[in-house]
C-alpha cells in the first residue's frame, strides 16, 4: 500500500529525514515511533505530499506521490498532530465540504456522517461552529472526515492525543475494521502500550534515520516495545 524509498528531507543544513526506506503492505497497521524532532511528522507529511521530498520516492497503491499527487491524495486521508480545522465552519459544513472535495455521493455521505458522528457521540454538536469545539471534539471531527471518503491509506500524526477513553477505543476498533477491509494505516504515537497492542508493524526513527522496522513480533522478541525503544534511544543506559 505504502512504499517509501530513500526519503530524504533537509531543512537548511538540518537533515530531518535521512534516506528512509519503509514498506507497509495492504491490511497492516504500522506504528511510527521516535523521540520529539526525530522526523516522524516530516515523513508523514511527505507521504501526504504536503511537503516535497529532497530525494527518494513515495508510492501509494503503486502511484507516485510526486508525479501523481491528486491520484494518491484521493485514496489517502491525513490527520495532523494538531487538528487546526476551519473554525468558521460548523462541524456538519466542514464534513460536507470534505465530502464535496473527495466527490462522495449524497447517499454515501449522509449515511457515513450519521454513522460516524453517532459512533463518536458528536451528532448533537454538528451544527455548532468548530471554534466552539474542544480539542477532543476537533480530533473526533478530523477522524470522521478522514474516514468519510473511505480511503485506502490513512496517515495519522498522534491520533490519540486529546481523545477520551471511549473515543480512543472507538478509533482503535475503526482502525482494525479498516485494515480488515484491506486498507492500511500509518500513524505516529508516543503511547508505546497502544502501539504494541494495536500495530501489526512498527518502525522506529531516530535523528531522521530509520533504526529498526518489521513486524511487531520480529522487533520485540521477548521484550516490550518500551524497552526496545529505550534501548535504541540509548535511554536504558542513562536510566
Amino acid at each position: 500500500m505504502l512504499r517509501i524509498e530513500g526519503l530524504t528531507k533537509r531543512y537548511g543544513e538540518k537533515c530531518a529525514v535521512d534516506d528512509l526506506t519503509l514498506e507497509i503492505p495492504d491490511g497492516v497497521i504500522c506504528g511510527f515511533i521516535g523521540h520529539n524532532g526525530a522526523g516522524k511528522t516530516t515523513t508523514l507529511k511527505a507521504c501526504m505530499g504536503i511537503i516535497s521530498a529532497d530525494e527518494g520516492n513515495i508510492y501509494i497503491d503503486g502511484k507516485s506521490v510526486s508525479s501523481d499527487p491528486l491520484g494518491t491524495k484521493s485514496i489517502t486521508a491525513y490527520i495532523p498532530d494538531n487538528p487546526d480545522l476551519y473554525e468558521f465552519l460548523s462541524g456538519i459544513r466542514y464534513l460536507n465540504f470534505v465530502a464535496d472535495v473527495y466527490g462522495v455521493s449524497a447517499e454515501v455521505r449522509n449515511e457515513r456522517i450519521a454513522a460516524l458522528a453517532d459512533k463518536f457521540g458528536l451528532t448533537a454538536d454538528l451544527a455548532q461552529p468548530i471554534s466552539a469545539y474542544s480539542h477532543g471534539m476537533k480530533q473526533k471531527l478530523a477522524i470522521i472526515s478522514a474516514w468519510l471518503h473511505d480511503p485506502k491509506l490513512i496517515i495519522m500524526d498522534e491520533p490519540f492525543v486529546g481523545l477520551d477513553p471511549k473515543a480512543s477505543y472507538t478509533l482503535k476498533e475503526m482502525m482494525h475494521e479498516h485494515c480488515e477491509r484491506g486498507g492500511s494505516i500509518f500513524f505516529s504515537t508516543h503511547v508505546l502500550d497502544v502501539a504494541e497492542k494495536l500495530c501489526d508493524k512498527v518502525a522506529i526513527i531516530k535523528d531522521g534515520k530509520l533504526v529498526i522496522e518489521g513486524s511487531m513480533e520480529d522487533v520485540l522478541g521477548e521484550e516490550s516495545l518500551e524497552s526496545v525503544f529505550l534501548e535504541l534511544e540509548g535511554g536504558a543506559e542513562n536510566d
Partner: protein
C-alpha cells in the same frame, strides 16, 4: 517584564513582513526585502504626510497670519485624535482581547496587568505613528509660516499627550465591544455594523472640517457645536497654563482610569468563551456539489465570518455605494459646475467610471486570502485538488464579494443620473475589470508573500506585505485611470478613453492571470 512583552508584540508585527523560511522558522530579512519594505513605508508615509501637509498649508494660510493658533492646532488635534481613536478601537480589541497567546501568557508568572500594559503599549506605538502623520505636518507648516516657538512646543506637547487619550478611550471601548460581543449571537454582523458607524462618523467629521477650513471662528461655532471644544484643546497648544494642565490631566487621567477599569476584568474577558445559545443539530439531507463550488463557498464563509477581514479588505464596497448614492443626490449641483467648465453633462460619466475603479481598487480580500488559511493550510494541501483550483476558488470568492456591489453601484449611477448610450456598458465593464484585476494581483502577491502564522487576523489583513503592495499599486493605477478619464473628457474623446482603459485592464489582467496560473500556482504547491 513589560519591555520583554512589548518587544515580543513588536517582533510579531514586524514578522508580518518577513514571512517564513522553508523549515517554518522566521525568514531572515534580505537586503532587498528591507529596501522594498522601507520604500513602501516611505511611500505611504509621504502620501499621508503630503495629504495632511496640503491641508495644513490651506488652513495655515487662513489661521496663522490671523494669529488664531488655537483654532489651527485645535482642528489638527481633533482630526488626529479622531483618526487615531476610531481606527484603533478594533485594533485595540484584537490586540488586547483576541490574541491567541493570551492564555499562554496567563499561565506564566506574569501579572495580567503587565500583559495588558504590554498590549496597550503596542497599540500606543502604532497610534503615535498615526498621530505623527497628522501632527508633524501641522507643526512643520506652522513653523514655516512664521508661527511662534511656543506654538511649536505646544503642538509637540499635544502630539505626545493625545495618543494617550485616544488609546485609553479606544481600550475602554474595545473592552466594551469585547464584553458585549461575547454575549451576542450575530457577533460578526454587529461588529461590522458598529465599525462602519464609527467610520462614517469619522468621515462626516473629517470632510466637514476640510470643506469648512478657513471659516471664521464664529461662523464655525454655529456650524459645529463642538467647536468650543476644538478651541479649548487648541489653546493647550499655545501653552496656556490652564488649558495645558487640563489636557494633560485629561489624557493621563483617562489612561489611569482605563487601566484600572480593564485590568480588573481582563482575565475574565480573555478567558471567557461567550454564552451564545447552543445549536442542536437536526439531520437534513446533504447534497453533492463540485470541488470548486465547495472551495468557493468555504472562502465566502471565511470572508463573512470575520469583521476584521471584511472591514479592512473591502472598504471599496462601501465607498462605491456611498459614491453612487451621493452622486445621484448631488447631481443637480454637479451639472452647473460642469457647465461652468464648458463641459457637457455627459462629461461626468468617464470620471464616474474611473471613480468607481478607484473604489474597486480599494477592495483587496484576495491579498490576504492565502494567508487567511493560517494553520488550516494542511487541509487543502492534503486534499486531491490542484493549486490552480485553490487559487481560482479564492479569485471567484473575491469576484463575488467585490463585483456584485460594484455593479450595483454602477446601476445606481446609471439609473440615478440618467446615463444612456455608449457610456452605459463602459460604466459597468470598466469597474468590473478593476475588481478582477485587483483580485488576481492580490492573489499573486499573497502567494509570493504568504503569512500563515499570526496572533490575530489583523496581522495578515492589515499589516502584511501583500496588502501594502496592493495599496500602493492601486494608488498608481487610480492615478492612471483618472488621468485617462480627465484627458478623454477634455479632448472630447470619451469613447477612446473608455477603450484605452479597457485595453489596459485586459492586458494587465491577462499578464497577472498568466503569473497566477503559472509561477504562483507552483509556488503555492511548495508553501
Amino acid at each position: 517584564m513589560i519591555r520583554t512583552l512589548l518587544a515580543l508584540r513588536l517582533r510579531a508585527t514586524f514578522a508580518s513582513f518577513k514571512g517564513r523560511s522553508k523549515d517554518g522558522k522566521p525568514a531572515k530579512l534580505s537586503a532587498g526585502k528591507i529596501v522594498l519594505v522601507s520604500i513602501l513605508m516611505l511611500y505611504l508615509g509621504v502620501t499621508f504626510i503630503g495629504l495632511f501637509t496640503l491641508m495644513a498649508v490651506s488652513m495655515g494660510m487662513f489661521y496663522i497670519p490671523a494669529g488664531d493658533y488655537a483654532m489651527y492646532f485645535g482642528l489638527f488635534m481633533l482630526i488626529g485624535f479622531s483618526m487615531v481613536f476610531i481606527f484603533s478601537i478594533f485594533e485595540t480589541k484584537a490586540e488586547l482581547f483576541d490574541c491567541k497567546d493570551n492564555e499562554l501568557l496567563l499561565s506564566m508568572p506574569i501579572s495580567p496587568g503587565n500583559i495588558m500594559l504590554s498590549r496597550i503599549a503596542t497599540v500606543l506605538v502604532y497610534n503615535y505613528i498615526e498621530m505623527a502623520l497628522v501632527m508633524l505636518p501641522a507643526i512643520v507648516v506652522y513653523g514655516f509660516m512664521g508661527g511662534s516657538p511656543v506654538g511649536i512646543i505646544g503642538g509637540a506637547l499635544a502630539f505626545l499627550l493625545l495618543p494617550l487619550l485616544a488609546t485609553s478611550l479606544a481600550s475602554a471601548l474595545g473592552y466594551a465591544v469585547a464584553a458585549i460581543v461575547k454575549r451576542i449571537k450575530h457577533k460578526t454582523l454587529i461588529t461590522t455594523v458598529t465599525s462602519l458607524f464609527f467610520l462614517v462618523v469619522y468621515f462626516i467629521f473629517y470632510f466637514g472640517i476640510v470643506e469648512n477650513a478657513g471659516m471664521e471662528e464664529e461662523e464655525m461655532i454655529t456650524s459645529y457645536p463642538h467647536i468650543p471644544f476644538i478651541a479649548f484643546i487648541g489653546k493647550a497648544a499655545t501653552l496656556s497654563p490652564l488649558h495645558t494642565a487640563v489636557l494633560a490631566i485629561l489624557c493621563i487621567g483617562a489612561t489611569a482610569i482605563a487601566y484600572k477599569l480593564i485590568s480588573g476584568k481582563y482575565i475574565s474577558i480573555i478567558t471567557s468563551h461567550g454564552t451564545t445559545a447552543r445549536r442542536e443539530y437536526k439531520r437534513s439531507r446533504l447534497e453533492r456539489r463540485g470541488a470548486i463550488y465547495a472551495l468557493t463557498v468555504k472562502e465566502l464563509r471565511r470572508f463573512f465570518s470575520s469583521s476584521v477581514y471584511m472591514l479592512n479588505s473591502s472598504m471599496g464596497v462601501i465607498f462605491s455605494i456611498i459614491l453612487a448614492v451621493a452622486t445621484v443626490v448631488k447631481i443637480g449641483e454637479i451639472t452647473p459646475m460642469l457647465s461652468e467648465l464648458g463641459l457637457s453633462r455627459d462629461a461626468i460619466y468617464p470620471v464616474l467610471a474611473s471613480a468607481l475603479c478607484i473604489c474597486a481598487s480599494l477592495n483587496m480580500p484576495s491579498a490576504a486570502a492565502v494567508s487567511m488559511e493560517g494553520k488550516s493550510f494542511w487541509i487543502p494541501k492534503s486534499m486531491p485538488i490542484t493549486s490552480r483550483q485553490i487559487l481560482l476558488s479564492k479569485l471567484l470568492s473575491h469576484i463575488i464579494v467585490t463585483v456584485t456591489p460594484t455593479v450595483l453601484a454602477s446601476i445606481i449611477l446609471i439609473v440615478g443620473t440618467g446615463a444612456y448610450g455608449i457610456d452605459l456598458p463602459f460604466m459597468i465593464v470598466i469597474p468590473t475589470l478593476t475588481s478582477l484585476l485587483f483580485g488576481i494581483l492580490g492573489l499573486v502577491l499573497n502567494t509570493a508573500f504568504p503569512k500563515l502564522e499570526y496572533d490575530n487576523e489583523a496581522q495578515p489583513v492589515k499589516q502584511s506585505l501583500p496588502i501594502f503592495l496592493v495599496m500602493i499599486i492601486s494608488m498608481v493605477w487610480d492615478v492612471i485611470m483618472i488621468g485617462i478619464a480627465i484627458a478623454s473628457v477634455l479632448l472630447g474623446m470619451s469613447v477612446i478613453g473608455y477603450i484605452v482603459s479597457i485595453l489596459l485592464h485586459i492586458v494587465m489582467c491577462a499578464a497577472f492571470m498568466a503569473i497566477l496560473l503559472g509561477p504562483s500556482a507552483r509556488k503555492l504547491e511548495k508553501i
